[in-house]
């Protein structure tokens, strides 16, 4: 056996890539689980092709999964991978450009034959020409070696071939000095009724590990240092899972049934799928005939006393717009979740974008003030939707919760909060017929009085026509002006309840970076790096975009420059410019991907240079 070295690293980014059929998502999530259980911090990002069954071997059929893990806090899935596992030429070609210099490439050499090379647009075999110089390339005959390891199995050739992703995973486990226990356990559970498959996958996993251990090809394995994380129980969650958990939790804490009205749409559908499994948690899911009915039924359910929610993505938001207006004039608690994707129109359904912000804040007819809150990381989706629910009931208002494709599918460890640490959500309904008026307001919050149908003596009418305090239709011009101002003022008062974001960096300086939503990790990482380098830069990450934090106007003017990085052509920046008359600069990349730390750093440095 060759003599091997162990090298210690602070943080590692790995990208798994192959055909949709190569099982790279599974391999990635298995590695992620193991990473999480070992106590590392991590963030992941799957990257699916838009086609469900894209043709094998093609560039657009490549499916990827990226994970960054470290003993230190990790905020992003990593700009550029240290390690690429490429199961075919197309996977190599698509991902090579983002790989780190001198990065490790493990390829399945068996897949590099003429047909696949041609499909990937390679004129000559990159494993044999000079095109991979500058990288550490490890060509492994993964298909052949897997078949050999399974030669005694009665599975068909095709079935054996499917186990090759476990062979690749075995190599990785060796490479990062891991044990394979968690995956072994998982295979045994998953295939407990299929002993043939169980056996094959275990054999493939072991074979990959042994191969890496014994071959001369791999001389070095890696150890990533661990550090102490906040004590407690953890669980790995994607953004969509965290939203699901948050919705159920908020409904329980409000002592209400959860009603989800929704229509399937990428990348929000998982929330509908997940919630429909939780029937025993007093969850009612209603797969509506369209986006409009999804929110309409949720409005009805909320009116009748349930915790009403609707989930969608950009095109669906467009369709729900009219109902949002109704929910605003009804002043009814409602959670509207938009998992943003690339637009306009159908756009890039499986990719991420932040281009629905102006739509969320302004996109309705009439003066229709809508609170907007945005999640900053996959696990943060839980807290975000919970906070939205608290506000929705306290201020009797619909609320838009913004997530996006990156948060929806990306994952990270979620620190499971002790259940008692989460506050109850108090919901009050009118009971007394003598004092009841539908639009009588709480003097503090300006929330209106809600009365549930079924309550004797409180029969009343609500609707889209302007009402006066008594709930009667009113065409009175002064009343309309008053109601419009009250509805706007109510949303401003949400600031009395919610916490202001934390300022990272000095209170005065050369540059303030204002960001929102899923760019949190990238922006935070860039700022932390620059603060370490003693640069005069600070970061302010918004949670609520409507209402904006009370002190933001003051804070913004404490810096010579303001930079607003966004995955759109500049939407928050428009709001900030009009709100605070500040000459903010934008950093905008709309590629369907998270922002890149290196590029953002450069943009910040350029401004600092002046």
């Amino acid at each position: 056996m060759a003599k091997k070295n162990v090298q210690t690293l602070k943080s590692v980014t790995i990208r798994f890539a192959g055909d949709s059929g190569d099982g790279m998502q599974l391999t990635g999530s298995q590695f992620t689980n193991d990473t999480a259980i070992l106590g590392y911090d991590l963030t992941t990002l799957p990257d699916y092709p838009a086609e469900i069954r894209a043709p094998a071997g093609t560039l657009f059929g490549v499916s990827g999964f990226q994970i960054q893990f470290s003993g230190q806090p990790v905020h992003t899935p990593g700009d550029s991978p240290d390690v690429l596992i490429a199961m075919n030429p197309a996977a190599l070609k698509v991902n090579l450009k983002i790989l780190k210099d001198n990065g490790i490439i493990i390829v399945n050499r068996d897949a590099f034959q003429a047909r696949n090379l041609e499909l990937a647009g390679y004129k000559s075999n990159p494993l044999e020409d000079e095109s991979l110089t500058g990288f550490q390339v490890f060509p492994v005959d993964i298909t052949t070696l897997t078949k050999e390891a399974l030669k005694d199995s009665s599975l068909s050739v095709k079935e054996k071939d499917r186990a090759k992703n476990f062979f690749a995973l075995g190599i990785l486990y060796w490479l990062f000095t891991r044990s394979m226990d968690s995956t072994m356990e998982w295979i045994k559970q998953k295939f407990k009724n299929d002993p043939e498959y169980m056996d094959a996958n275990i054999k493939a996993l072991n074979a990959g590990y042994s191969y890496a251990l014994s071959t001369e090809l791999f001389a070095t394995s890696f150890h990533v240092e661990k550090a102490q994380k906040k004590p407690g129980k953890y669980r790995n969650v994607t953004g969509n899972e965290a939203l699901t958990l948050g919705l159920i939790t908020a409904a329980k804490k409000a002592d209400k049934e959860l009603f989800l009205g929704s229509y399937p749409i990428t990348p929000a559908s998982e929330i509908l799928h997940e919630l429909s499994k939780y029937k025993n948690y007093n969850v009612k899911t209603f797969q509506a005939e369209d986006e409009i009915a999804g929110i309409g039924a949720a409005v009805g359910a909320s009116y009748a006393g349930a915790f009403g929610a609707t989930t969608t993505s950009g095109p669906g938001m467009a369709l729900k717009t009219e109902f949002m207006g109704l929910a605003i004039i009804l002043e009814i608690p409602l959670i509207i979740i938009n998992v943003q994707r690339g637009g306009p129109s159908t756009g890039l359904p499986t990719k991420t974008e932040q281009a629905d912000l102006l739509q969320a804040v302004y996109g309705r007819n009439g003066e229709a003030p809508m609170p907007v809150i945005a999640a900053s990381s996959p696990a943060d989706c839980f807290q975000t939707v919970f906070e939205a629910a608290q506000v929705a009931f306290k201020y009797t208002t619909p609320i838009i919760v913004l997530s996006d494709g990156y948060l929806a599918n990306g994952s990270e460890p979620w620190w499971i909060p002790p259940i008692d640490s989460l506050p109850e959500i108090k919901v009050e309904y009118a009971k007394d017929p003598d004092s009841f008026k539908p639009y009588k307001r709480n003097p503090e919050t300006l929330a209106r009085m809600l009365a549930l149908p079924g309550t004797p003596g409180l029969e009343h009418h609500v609707g889209g026509l302007e009402k006066n305090e008594s709930g009667n239709v009113s065409y009175d011009s002064e009343n309309h002006d008053l109601m419009i101002r009250l509805r706007a003022e109510k949303i401003k008062r949400i600031n009395d309840f919610v916490k202001m974001p934390e300022l990272v960096g000095p209170e005065k300086g050369d540059l303030l970076v204002v960001s929102w939503g899923s760019t949190y990790g990238v922006v935070r990482t860039a700022i932390e790096q620059l603060l370490d380098e003693n640069k005069s830069v600070a970061g302010y990450h918004l949670r609520w975009i409507n209402p904006l934090p009370k002190k933001l106007g003051e804070i913004i003017h404490n810096y010579k420059n303001v930079l607003v990085p966004e995955i759109n052509l500049g939407q928050l920046i428009k709001i900030l410019r009009s709100e605070y008359l500040v000459d903010a600069k934008g950093f905008n990349k709309v590629r369907g991907l998270p922002l890149n730390i290196k590029e953002l750093r450069q943009a910040i440095l350029d401004i600092l240079k002046g």
Binding site: K229, R235, N280, A293, A297, G300, A306, L326, E459
Partner: protein, 349 residues
């Protein structure tokens, strides 16, 4: 709506006086509008249902008809155009104990809200949908609607419409509503019966009310209301009875070669040999044949119940499913929710 027919109604408690269902809002339809008749009949029906007033929720969309909820002192939601079925579905599913009505019009239900309308019928949620069909857009002042007769001159069809109209009952039948009926504004007794039956039916019930709009489409149903013609032109379908109509009850429908034909009857005709109406049969071919008479100028227009069949309601099935899952997995708690899946501990030092 559901009701146990054997339960005794406490008349005191249930406000049986129709006037007890008037709100403090004055109805603002045009003088002579058929909507007044529907409101008056509804106020007679509600106290008879044995349901306390606070359990009624009237949901409407937009249009002349959709002002209806304001004039009843029950709970009311005046929604947005065409979307009342969606709101009503949410209300009923969230609280099946409520008695939910949708008030809609021909444009509201069949044009802008067509999709919601067919899907509420399909799901069989226990909601009563009442469609006021005046074959015109009234509130927007006189454009043709999806039920307007072909060739109709209107503000938006000065040379006559070139569109084929929907027959609302036909759409409801095709979409799978379990109770489908038709009545007319000028037959108050018949309307009371239809509304009562619809309200008591468990499942989605649909009633089309032929409603005259004296302002923009006056007389569109005059053949069916004019004493001189109505007996020949209007067929009142009654369960178990032959289809008799005509000035002196001298005509009947006969079933011949899979078609209806009109035959003369007199005192000597053996009525037992005639085909009889079966509202519970659920035989689509017959239901559709009856409905098709609506647009056949040689046959009378039927009113009454086209279909009244039993089927599990959406909300009953949903509750059953929830209970089944609870029986299987137990009542879900946050404790369980948070700790399912792959969890791991990080210990403090």
């Amino acid at each position: 709506m559901s009701l146990d027919p054997n339960s005794l109604i406490d008349e005191q408690k249930l406000n049986v006086n129709p006037e007890n269902y008037s709100s403090d809002q004055e109805a603002r339809w045009c003088p002579g509008c058929g909507d007044y008749s529907i409101l008056a009949q509804m106020k007679k029906v509600l106290p008879q249902l044995g349901i306390p007033r606070e359990k009624f929720v009237f949901v409407s969309g937009i249009g002349c008809s959709s002002r209806f909820p304001y004039y009843l002192n029950t709970y009311g939601v005046h929604g947005i155009h065409g979307r009342a079925p969606a709101i009503a579905s949410g209300i009923k599913i969230a609280n099946p104990d409520l008695s939910v009505f949708v008030i809609t019009g021909d444009g509201d239900a069949l044009s802008i809200g067509g999709n919601h309308f067919i899907h509420i019928c399909r799901r069989n949620i226990d909601i009563t949908v009442i469609l006021f069909n005046n074959k015109i857009y009234g509130l927007t002042k006189g454009q043709y609607s999806p039920t307007s007769n072909k060739g109709m001159i209107s503000k938006s069809s000065p040379y006559g419409t070139i569109e084929n109209p929907f027959v609302p009952v036909e759409v409801a039948l095709a979409a799978g509503a379990t109770f489908v009926a038709r009545t007319i504004d000028r037959e108050p007794k018949h309307m009371v019966e239809m509304l009562t039956r619809a309200a008591r039916h468990k499942g989605t019930s649909f009633v089309e009310v032929y409603q005259n709009c004296p302002i923009f489409n006056d007389g569109v149903y005059s053949e069916l209301t004019d004493p001189k013609t109505k007996k020949d032109k209007l067929l009142i379908m009654e369960d178990g009875k032959p289809y008799i109509f005509g000035q002196d009850n001298n005509k009947a429908l006969n079933w011949n070669c899979n078609n209806f034909e009109v035959m003369d009857v007199d005192a000597n005709t053996d009525l037992d040999n005639l085909i009889k109406h079966e509202e519970h049969a659920g035989r689509a071919a017959l239901e559709f044949m009856l409905v098709s008479m609506t647009i056949n100028p040689d046959l009378p227009t039927p009113i009454g119940i086209f279909r009244d069949i039993k089927m599990d309601t959406y909300e009953d099935l949903l509750i059953k499913q929830i209970n089944d899952v609870k029986a299987l997995k137990g009542e879900g708690s946050l404790e369980q929710l948070f700790n399912s899946g792959n969890t791991w501990m990080v210990n403090g030092k």
